[in-house]
């Protein structure tokens, strides 16, 4: 295998009697844009939660840059260079747009509490540099709102962009995007697709996304992994996966799969 940035080895997660993710192998090469698709309840978000440290897998291992990360806390995983967005936007509502982005930089802060209390030179310079970078990210994701506006006052599309900027603020090596185009109109969707491509092309970030919009999935992903009932049922380039009878069956039912196999 090529240079694997992220690797899940036979990862399993159970909730009571339900097996949400069942012995899934999932590898992501450095510098790729990869999609995870599947019907509702297939275990996609659970997989994200396992990778980002919110769930501890019941079995299996997660490796990132050659080191095991399952069992680490979410903040430790973030510090290793994995950041994420959420399916239902989870901004810090009563903080400004810029503050949201600055919180995203938490793992990179060097000034300690003593320097903060003393307002030392090092602290002030770091703070200024971070604010400048926050403004750069603000422009990078194409935000048009007032940077000092509270996040909750922003329209939906802008909130999505803030979440993007916040996820990029830690200078991650890998971002996990959970349905980044949910609730968007076709134009916003095209913009977002473009933005995801720029993450990889301009910032060199590896991207894994969960997505329901097939146009987005087929348009940008280089590999697609399909989950159904917690199991991986297909994997490969989008053009191949979309013709896979098991995938069609998972989405449209058995009859449809038989029909299209002809």
């Amino acid at each position: 295998m090529a240079d694997l940035l992220l690797e899940c080895r036979r990862v399993t997660k159970r909730f009571g009697g339900l097996v949400a993710v069942n012995a899934v192998d999932f590898g992501v090469e450095r510098g790729r844009i990869v999609s995870v698709i599947g019907p509702n309840g297939a275990g996609k978000t659970t997989l994200f939660n396992i990778i980002s440290g919110f769930y501890r897998p019941d079995a299996g291992e997660v490796w990132f840059e050659g080191r095991r990360i399952d069992g680490l806390r979410p903040d430790q995983v973030a510090a290793r260079g994995i950041s994420r967005t959420f399916q239902n936007i989870r901004l810090f509502q009563n903080m400004t747009v810029l503050e949201n982005i600055l919180v995203g930089m938490h793992t990179r802060i060097r000034a300690n509490v003593v320097q903060v209390l003393a307002r030392s030179r090092a602290f002030r310079e770091e703070e200024r540099a971070l604010v400048e970078e926050a403004f750069r990210l603000f422009r990078f994701v194409g935000l048009k709102a007032n940077p000092n506006e509270l996040a909750k006052n922003l329209p939906y599309g802008e909130q999505r962009k803030v979440e993007f900027a916040r996820a990029l603020a830690s200078r991650p090596k890998l971002v996990l995007l959970d349905e980044p185009t949910a609730g968007m109109n076709p134009q916003e969707m095209a913009e977002t697709t473009q933005l995801i491509r720029r993450l990889r092309d301009e910032l060199g970030i590896t991207v894994v996304l969960i997505e329901h919009q097939m146009r987005v999935v087929m348009g940008i992903s280089e590999r697609v992994t399909v989950l159904d009932y917690g199991e991986k049922i297909a994997e490969g380039p989008p053009a191949v996966v979309r013709r896979d009878p098991r995938v069609i069956e998972a989405y449209l039912g058995r009859g449809a799969a038989l029909g299209s196999a002809d």
């Binding site: 989870r90 901004l91 919180v103 802060i109 602290f123 509270l150 830690s170």
Partner: protein, 440 residues
């Protein structure tokens, strides 16, 4: 500018006139004095909102607090006592605001840290230490007061961490209940720790607590200023409290406008997302508890020394609720709000309610009647004495606030950030929408 100056000048003159000895026999004097004092303290608020330069505001504020208020205080030591109490509660409210306002952790046992600070000095600063440890080295000399003030900060912060460690897995209501219990546990422990070792002297409390050293007295004598010790101590505690509140404000502000404050607020807003951004929840929550507790520790110690006597009754659940009420009334997460909240609630309790009671007593002694229903005030039952309705006032105040202004008197305002080089050109462009970010 002129209006601000005129207001401050008038309020000061009126209060100075009221605090003088001439009017004390007038009906409802203490109520009048309270109103004058509120108007006088209000001049700080006027200053806060006045369109003046930062330095000018600071200078005027200092003149009010360092010169004018003590001048009134010397004329009328009760005002100085009220101001000192306001300061003590302001520091407590600032500390609790870090925990509840910034980090969003509802702490109902905050008074525990206050008690820790108070008892720390009470034990070593009185004969109680000898009883407890069977020695004769106590009470420590007054000069030890200041090293122990630092220690009180440290010990209270440690207590905060020790409390935080087991309970911070809990959220919301559960955390509130556990902290409430912790506050009560500390009080009950203090109440019962007169045996097997008599550490706290139980419900009798500890008396004859050492006061801080009057190190400046030789200077005053050399300058030809003589004052009796009572006034001197009253002024001393006022300035000490003022200094600590000043420190608390500066430190809180610095924490607020840094990654520490941002991390706390992020936790308050969305714990899960905050963690995904790499914020270590437990460590940051413990830091909030420790920071909040340290203010209470320092103030508890000063309170003990000022009162000369403490017992567990000073550290009841009602105190925690009182401080929480100040934070909520002032505006959660707002530093000026915490101070205004502390002032409003304290002045209401110490001056307005007591003033009403005194007025009522004065009226009772006369043959005044309530008009229309012809009810003689002499028959007014003592149970309806306004000073007994402190708790009712908390409740009513909170209800009124939550209906009319749930975000508090001075709501939290987020820090407005700009690029250094863009500040000049960008400001006009952002101006039309900039106002919207201020509220909420």
């Amino acid at each position: 500018m002129l209006a601000v100056g005129a207001y401050i000048f008038t309020a000061t003159l009126i209060t100075l006139w009221l605090s003088g000895p001439g009017l004390r026999q007038v009906l409802g004097y203490s109520l009048l004095l309270a109103l004058g004092f509120v108007a006088f303290l209000g001049s700080l608020l006027v200053l806060y909102y006045a369109p003046l330069s930062r330095n000018l505001k600071l200078a005027l504020g200092l003149i009010i607090l360092v010169l004018l208020l003590p001048t009134m205080g010397v004329q009328n030591t009760f005002l100085l006592e009220v101001a000192t109490q306001v300061g003590i509660f302001a520091a407590l409210a600032l500390g609790l605001n870090i925990v509840v306002g910034f980090a969003g952790l509802l702490d109902l046992g905050y008074v525990a840290f206050y008690a820790v600070g108070a008892y720390l000095w009470a034990i070593v600063g009185s004969n109680q230490g000898n009883i407890a440890f069977n020695t004769d080295i106590f009470p420590l000399a007054p000069a030890w007061f200041f090293p122990f003030l630092l220690m009180a900060v440290g010990v209270a912060a440690m207590t905060g961490i020790l409390l935080g460690l087991p309970v911070l897995r809990l959220r919301g209501d559960y955390l509130a209940i556990v902290t409430l219990a912790f506050g009560e546990v500390i009080r009950v422990v203090v109440n019962n720790l007169d045996k097997p070792i008599n550490l706290t002297n139980g419900p009798q409390g500890i008396r004859a607590i050492q006061r801080p050293p009057l190190f400046f007295k030789p200077v005053l004598t050399a300058l030809g200023i003589t004052a009796d010790d009572a006034t001197l101590y009253a002024l001393y505690f006022y300035f000490l409290v003022l200094l600590v509140v000043g420190f608390a404000v500066v430190l809180t502000r610095r924490l607020e406008n840094s990654w520490v404050g941002r991390a706390w607020t992020a936790i308050r807003e969305d714990e899960l997302a905050a963690q995904a951004m790499g914020i270590p929840l437990v460590r940051m929550k413990l830091a909030a508890f420790a920071a909040g507790a340290s203010f209470a520790g320092a103030m508890g110690m000063i309170f003990g020394a000022k009162q000369y006597f403490i017992n567990p009754e000073s550290f009841t659940f009602m105190e925690s609720i009182g401080v929480l009420a100040m934070v909520i009334v002032g505006g959660m997460g707002s530093v000026p709000g915490a101070i205004v909240g502390a002032t409003v609630v304290t002045v209401l309790n110490l001056q307005v309610l007591k003033g009403l009671s005194l007025l009522l007593n004065q009226l009772r002694a006369t043959d005044a009647v309530i008009p229309v229903i012809n009810y003689p005030l002499a028959r007014w039952p003592t149970q309806l004495d306004p000073a007994k309705y402190e708790r009712l006032v908390f409740g009513v105040l909170l209800v009124i606030m939550s209906i009319l202004r749930p975000q508090g008197i001075i709501p939290e305002r987020r820090h407005q950030l700009e690029l250094e080089e863009r500040r000049a050109e960008a400001a006009p462009a952002l101006a039309p929408t900039a106002g919207g970010g201020a509220d909420g």
